[in-house]
């Protein structure tokens, strides 16, 4: 059993490497196909008519943009091997410095949103399954799909307007890390976590409901239902384990995308997170920063994927031998 497990772990780990490489190549090429470069974005932004072309060419040289593509790629790869992620082309500061604070915010937001999603999805899904095809079921499904259907920025705008007009209150404008001041921190992040979590709970609720339905159909549950003991059995370990697992899978898979994908939410709630950084980096053609961000999100996604795969394999030995 152990040997099969280790072999499986190794096999999955090894598969991560070519995927990461593929991501690196894709984003590298994609960025260089996009018209415009960082020097142009920086100097032409306000008119730039007194700026000379020679200056701009010198800047390009400094940033290494005049080198052939394969050389730029290998320089970048070599840097990663040394765990040196390079400097941002826009500010010239180390990328780790640029990402640090934004990563802390986005990570916390992703965790909080996932928690909200889980806390909503599981009970609602169970409820909808137990009361299938009744008005309770319909109400739950309408509620969760409504969350999915509303544009996130619309919801965000409405939330902020409500807070302003009704409560005359605004969340903190600046991010305070949790360990510095937990109240300020939560006061800022609670609302976007709620909005985002509500949206993501929809998928989880649907999954929980169908998983629960499957569990409910099993014969022993049916008999127990007839005997009136169904509540206890449903909530038994076996039933819960089988039902909750797919929900947790879905939510954890979405987690990685919550890191860099909350572009519009961050803009509406004015959060200094990775999503905004992403959009700015692409707009400024900051190749090194964009590449680093993409690799960060991809790595997180693949690691979470990996963890989920391992968890599944550990729980269901049959998978290991496929």
């Amino acid at each position: 059993m152990r040997a099969g497990m280790t072999g499986y772990i190794l096999k999955r780990l090894l598969l991560i490497i070519p995927t990461l490489f593929g991501v690196a190549v894709l984003i590298f090429l994609l960025l260089r196909v996009v018209p415009g470069d960082v020097v142009e974005a920086r100097y032409m932004g306000q008119g730039g008519q007194f700026q000379s072309q020679e200056q701009m060419q010198l800047e390009r040289k400094k940033l290494g943009l005049d080198q052939p593509m394969w050389k730029q790629f290998t320089t970048w790869m070599a840097g990663i091997a040394r765990l040196d992620f390079g400097l941002s082309m826009w500010t010239g500061s180390p990328i780790t410095e640029e990402i640090k604070l934004r990563f802390a915010l986005s990570l916390q937001l992703a965790i909080m949103a996932s928690t909200v999603a889980t806390l909503l999805a599981i009970p609602l899904g169970i409820l909808a399954a137990i009361k299938q095809d009744t008005w309770v079921d319909y109400a739950v499904r309408v509620f969760s799909i409504a969350g999915l259907a509303m544009p996130s920025f619309w919801l965000g705008i409405l939330m902020i307007l409500c807070m302003l007009i009704i409560f005359k209150w605004l969340p903190p404008m600046v991010f305070t890390p949790f360990w510095v001041n937990p109240w300020e921190n939560l006061a800022q992040l609670f609302w976007p976590a709620l909005a985002v979590g509500y949206r993501y709970s929809a998928v989880g609720t649907r999954m929980m409901r169908s998983a629960m339905l499957e569990v409910l159909r099993e014969d022993y549950i049916r008999t127990a239902r007839a005997k009136g003991l169904w509540m206890k059995l449903i909530l038994s370990r076996h039933a819960m384990k089988n039902a909750i697992l797919p929900v947790l899978t879905i939510i954890s898979l979405e987690f990685a995308f919550l890191l860099g994908g909350l572009v519009v939410t961050e803009q509406v709630f004015n959060l200094n997170g990775l999503g905004m950084l992403f959009v700015e980096a692409i707009a400024r053609r900051d190749y090194t920063l964009t590449q680093a961000l993409v690799m960060l999100v991809a790595t997180t996604f693949l690691i979470v994927n990996f963890a989920v795969d391992i968890a599944y394999a550990w729980l269901d030995p049959r998978i290991r031998y496929r």
Binding site: A146, S210, G260, G261, V263
Partner: protein, 299 residues
Amino acid sequence: MAVTPQTVEDLAHAGRSRGGWWSVVADFIRRRPLGAIGAAIILVMVFLAATAELIAPYDPLATDYAAMLAAPNKTHWLGTDAYGRDVLSRMVYGSRTALMVGLGASLLGAVFGSMIGVASAYFGGRVDLVVQRVMDVFFAFPVIILALAVVAVLGTGAGNVILAIATPMIPRCARVVRASALSVREMPYVDAARAAGFVHSRIILRHMLPNVMAPILIMATAFLGEAILLEASLSFLGLGVTEPTAAWGLMLRGAAVEFAESAPWMAVFPGLAISLAVFGFNLFGDSLRDALDPRLRTQ
């Protein structure tokens, strides 16, 4: 009573049998009221999109600065926007843009995704492994970032937006279809077809594809909703469809946010339209999945 349809083939069969399509539809409405509501919403949207020229009272592009920012009244049922354009007309034409973008992206994503997924499952082995890795690579990008990158490469505008939205959809569809196709591949008739020496393409197209139609259909309806939302987000960021096109996402941008308090009709109605459309597609897709998924039979 009519046999409860379990697959698309069953549906088709039921349609052709006694009672015909109407009994299938009536049955659907009775048994799945939510799905029926969803379908109704979709039909209204399609109707509006098709008959926009007849229904819309004004030209969606016609500005009228004298009547700018007017509240809903007799001449402009849903009010006017910052340039004096009729909100109702823009909403009606907007459904056309939404459907075009949604359908276009969804179809593109579903078609290419399922082709890749089925082929990958069918050929298996190394082909499968490579294709999976490539799909994983695209999968690792957050949806909106990938769409953003494609827009950055191709530029804005309706056509490019369709491509930009379809791109992240393809690997997602491929993954789901592949899972389905894997189980189909083990079916006896596929083996038989192979033994009989049929060409790969024929087996894929005639034997495997029809049997994975159900998940593809469900995916496509879910994608439609996603696509409409994604277009709204991209337009909100200024990277989607361009002015002066009438598009719901575009209507939510800029002036709508600014005037959210004093002229809320500018933001409320397009937002509502988007929500309703996505809502409808999801409800319908949900019920479709319930109907076609054999594991959820309650009878």
